[in-house]
């Protein structure tokens, strides 16, 4: 079901993606780039939803679901490496982690 509003939204999302990409290229700090990448991921999820509806293949929405889950892992990895620069200083946190995990 090719709906005109969906085409408009898809074009708008593509414009937003290109703007986010400009920020990812310019980005003076690493955080600007991570922010742009996060935004790009969200926009990809929306674009995939729209494409599924435009092609009338709504069983492919699994792909958007997968991206909305996996995008978070990439973000956490980028943050952890930009914060600590590696895997070190992990184990100091693990003991406190068990107590925090117990209360949550």
């Amino acid at each position: 079901m090719m709906h005109p509003a969906m085409s408009i939204t898809a074009v708008a999302i593509l414009i937003t993606m290109s703007l986010a990409m400009i920020r990812a290229m310019l980005g003076p700090t690493v955080f600007d780039r991570v922010l742009a990448l996060n935004m790009f991921g969200t926009k990809t999820v929306l674009l995939i939803c729209l494409v599924c509806f435009m092609m009338d293949r709504t069983d492919f929405l699994d792909l958007a679901l997968l991206y909305s889950l996996i995008n978070f892992i990439g973000m956490v990895a980028l943050l952890r490496f930009s914060q600590y620069g590696g895997f070190d200083a992990i184990d100091a946190s693990s003991d406190e982690g068990s107590t925090t995990g117990g209360t949550s």
């Binding site: 079901m1 969906m6 920020r23 935004m39 969200t42």
Partner: protein
């Protein structure tokens, strides 16, 4: 049916409007924390409205449930990532550039 159609139009067009506004914001805003504000608009309001607009078009229960789950995960993960990003930026010495201490924060090299 015409009501659903109109609602879908409104949601999709509003979602694309907020999405583009956030996109321009992330390019044009002067420094990192205000850009984060612009990014937050697209990630929550834009995404929510677009998914809501698609929800009006979905025929059948399963696509609607999947859309709701996508919306739910987006609304959980994206603000979390933004929060952690802001926190680690603050901890690495970046400060938001306020109007009255713009000179001072430039001096500290944000």
């Amino acid at each position: 049916m015409i009501v659903v159609e109109v609602l879908a139009w409104i949601c999709l067009v509003a979602g694309s409007f907020f999405s583009i506004v956030g996109g321009f914001g992330i390019v044009r805003m002067p420094e990192f924390f205000s850009r984060m504000h612009a990014g937050g608009i697209t990630d929550t309001l834009g995404a929510g409205l677009v998914v809501l607009g698609l929800l009006f078009h979905s025929d059948g229960v399963l696509p609607a449930i999947k859309l709701l789950m996508i919306l739910f995960f987006l609304l959980v993960t994206s603000p979390t990532a933004c929060h952690a990003l802001a926190k680690s930026a603050l901890s690495q010495g970046m400060r938001p550039e306020l109007e009255n201490d713009a000179v001072k924060s430039k001096a500290t090299g944000s």
